[in-house]
């Protein structure tokens, strides 16, 4: 309010934002370009979107990627949540604890080569299944890390209170523990899902003949940047934005939970 205007600072700020967002803005604009050349503007058109949704190869790859992402997410939150409980409640070993997070730090190329040799060793044919397993490796690590933070802030006497009031262990977990950590599980699911959808390196190593969406885009781009690629990227952008907004809506504090003025604690 009372701040003096600083034109240089404002210009710097503008330049920074341009740097961050201009490429994406250009991409979105060009996806509506009525031209075969990706870089020359000829007028507004939806033809590339029509083309995109007729392109069975692209559609198939999207389907494959969604199947992989959903399966990897489910596996990751199952094993990740169990792992988070184990680490938080049943061990004090720092080695074991750090062992969980290591997959997140190993370079993807290394993970990819490792998994490839592993699958070859156990003679598992490469395909959708192997990509699901591969994505579950770091997905589990991510989910464990996220759920664990939630678990750490959870007062265990709340579980004890439930047992004390006559409810057995399993229903206590379902009625008390799970609702308490569910924001963590949902957040973990969204993170793993988002990462799985555009994961390229590990999928490239472990997919065999299966074509995931990022691999499809990569192979299209080898023949030059076409406007269809722009349309694909725009769709993908919208999709991930929707996921982020969804995650925000789920994770934000509920309105009625915060006390309104005039009815706060006495």
């Amino acid at each position: 309010m009372g701040e003096p205007r600083r034109p240089l600072l404002a210009a710097y700020m503008g330049a920074l934002f341009a740097f961050l967002y201009l490429p994406i803005a250009i991409l979105v604009v060009l996806s509506f370009n009525d031209s075969k050349l990706a870089t020359v503007w000829r007028g507004f058109s939806l033809r590339w979107y029509e083309e995109l949704f007729r392109d069975t190869e692209v559609l198939l790859s999207i389907r494959t990627t969604l199947v992989i992402a959903i399966a990897a997410t489910l596996l990751s939150i199952l094993f990740g949540t169990l792992l988070a409980f184990g680490i938080e409640r049943h061990t004090r070993s720092p080695a074991l604890e750090n062992g969980i997070y290591l997959p997140l730090l190993i370079p993807d190329v290394v993970t990819g080569i490792g998994l490839l040799s592993f699958f070859a060793t156990i003679s598992l044919p490469l395909g959708t299944t192997t990509v699901i397993i591969a994505h579950s490796v770091w997905g589990t690590a991510f989910a464990a890390a996220i759920v664990r933070t939630r678990l750490r802030g959870f007062d265990r006497s709340v579980e004890e209170a439930s047992l004390d009031l006559g409810v057995r262990e399993v229903p206590t977990f379902l009625r008390i523990t799970l609702p308490a950590i569910s924001p963590g599980i949902i957040a973990a699911a969204l993170v793993v899902f988002t990462l799985s959808i555009d994961e390229f390196i590990i999928a490239y190593f472990t997919a065999g003949q299966t074509v995931t969406f990022p691999i499809q885009v990569y192979s299209m781009i080898r023949f030059g940047v076409t406007p269809e690629i722009n349309a694909v990227a725009t769709v993908m952008l919208l999709f991930s934005m929707a996921l982020i907004v969804g995650a925000y809506l789920i994770a934000r504090p509920r309105g009625p939970r915060a006390a309104r003025p005039g009815e706060g604690p006495a």
Partner: protein, 358 residues
């Protein structure tokens, strides 16, 4: 004593190197307000959790109405606990928090509603029944936790530091309130606290614990008047303690003299302390003769004196440098600081204080 609801026999429990319970035996009577009092780490919470079924014993057993609770799980015991953190279910309304334990019993819906309403009335939370715990103040949460536990009509209600999270004024109000509630619902209360004032205010009987052992079980009055040992004496209220030596039938304080005193079996020649409460210490003018019944009288000097409304607190120091606290009613004389006086200790108020087992 009336029928014992809870009987604890030779309870032992250790966590690694730490001995939490070192042979505790105790009986708690029906309808009693019983306090487990002691400094942190004395084993009082472990004992409470053992009764609730949250901690198994290494040795010994806990009987409820004469039946061994054994290794039964918390949900199998007709005992409920009010947790120190209150442990309310954050995603449930007050009403659902209170109804939770009744729903677990699969009671008919209208009975649940009736009992929940009744209990909410008892703790004065009717108007807040649809709030969530996050919208309540500390005192309100405490009452929800209490309502949730008593609605189950347990044989025994266990309360783990029930007032520790409240501010001082609210804590004092709630001490009286808890006492009133206990009368109203007619349940047996076992409360864990480290606050001797709180235990004295609320409890019918108090067990003083230290290092996993029970030092004394007594009514607040007996605990104050006849502490069993030096630790209890100094933990409950203020006590002037003088180091002496046990004689065949009493205690000798050098160089003041010797009196007959029930010496709790201390061997002659062994060190034995005696204690006296500040309100029993008599201060006299320097040349005044000690009144009849005085065990010891010796000269001292007034060090500080404080007028605290209803009482006058005086600190004196004798020729050997020992300090004595003396408390007199507001009607008493306030002595000048630095003036000489005589300290007289009435025999009837002296308590022999063995070192204690702990």
């Amino acid at each position: 004593m009336s029928h014992a609801v809870i009987a604890i026999e030779g309870a032992r429990k250790r966590f690694g190197e730490t001995i939490a319970l070192d042979g505790v035996s105790l009986e708690i009577a029906e309808g009693e307000f019983f306090a487990l009092l002691g400094p942190s780490g004395c084993g009082k919470t472990t004992l409470l959790r053992a009764i609730g079924g949250f901690a198994g014993l290494d040795q010994g057993r806990i009987l409820l109405d004469g039946a061994d609770l054994g290794r039964s799980r918390p949900y199998e015991r007709p005992v409920n606990m009010m947790f120190q953190s209150y442990a309310l279910f954050p995603h449930m309304r007050v009403r659902d928090n209170v109804a939770y334990g009744l729903r677990a019993e699969r009671l008919p819906r209208d009975e649940i509603d009736a009992r929940v309403d009744e209990v909410l009335g008892v703790v004065g939370l009717h108007d807040l029944a649809d709030r969530r715990p996050g919208q309540l103040s500390g005192g309100q949460r405490q009452r929800v936790a209490l309502a949730r536990a008593i609605v189950k009509r347990p044989r025994v209600l266990l309360l783990d530091e029930p007032l520790a999270a409240l501010d001082r004024q609210l804590r004092q109000e709630m001490q009286i309130e808890l006492k009133r509630l206990q009368h109203e619902v007619g349940l047996t209360f076992v409360v864990v606290t480290h606050d001797q004032e709180e235990a004295m205010t609320m409890a019918d009987r108090i067990a003083v614990m230290r290092s996993g052992r029970i030092l004394q079980v007594a009514t607040p009055r007996d605990l104050y008047r006849h502490p069993a040992d030096r630790f209890v004496a100094s933990f409950i209220g203020t006590m002037n303690i003088l180091d002496g030596v046990a004689t065949a039938d009493g205690v000798r304080l050098d160089p003041v003299g010797e009196v007959r005193l029930e010496a709790f079996g201390a061997a002659p020649g062994a060190p034995l302390a005696v204690g006296i409460r500040p309100d029993d210490v008599i201060l006299l003018d320097a040349d005044a003769p000690p009144p009849p019944g005085t065990a010891f009288a010796f000269p001292a000097q007034v060090e500080t004196t404080v007028f605290a409304g209803s009482q006058i607190h005086t600190l004196v120091r004798d020729t050997q440098g020992r300090a004595f606290a003396a408390t007199a009613g507001a009607g008493g004389e306030q002595r000048r600081e630095g003036s000489a006086c005589v300290v007289a200790l009435p025999l009837a108020a002296l308590v022999a204080l063995p070192e204690g087992s702990a």
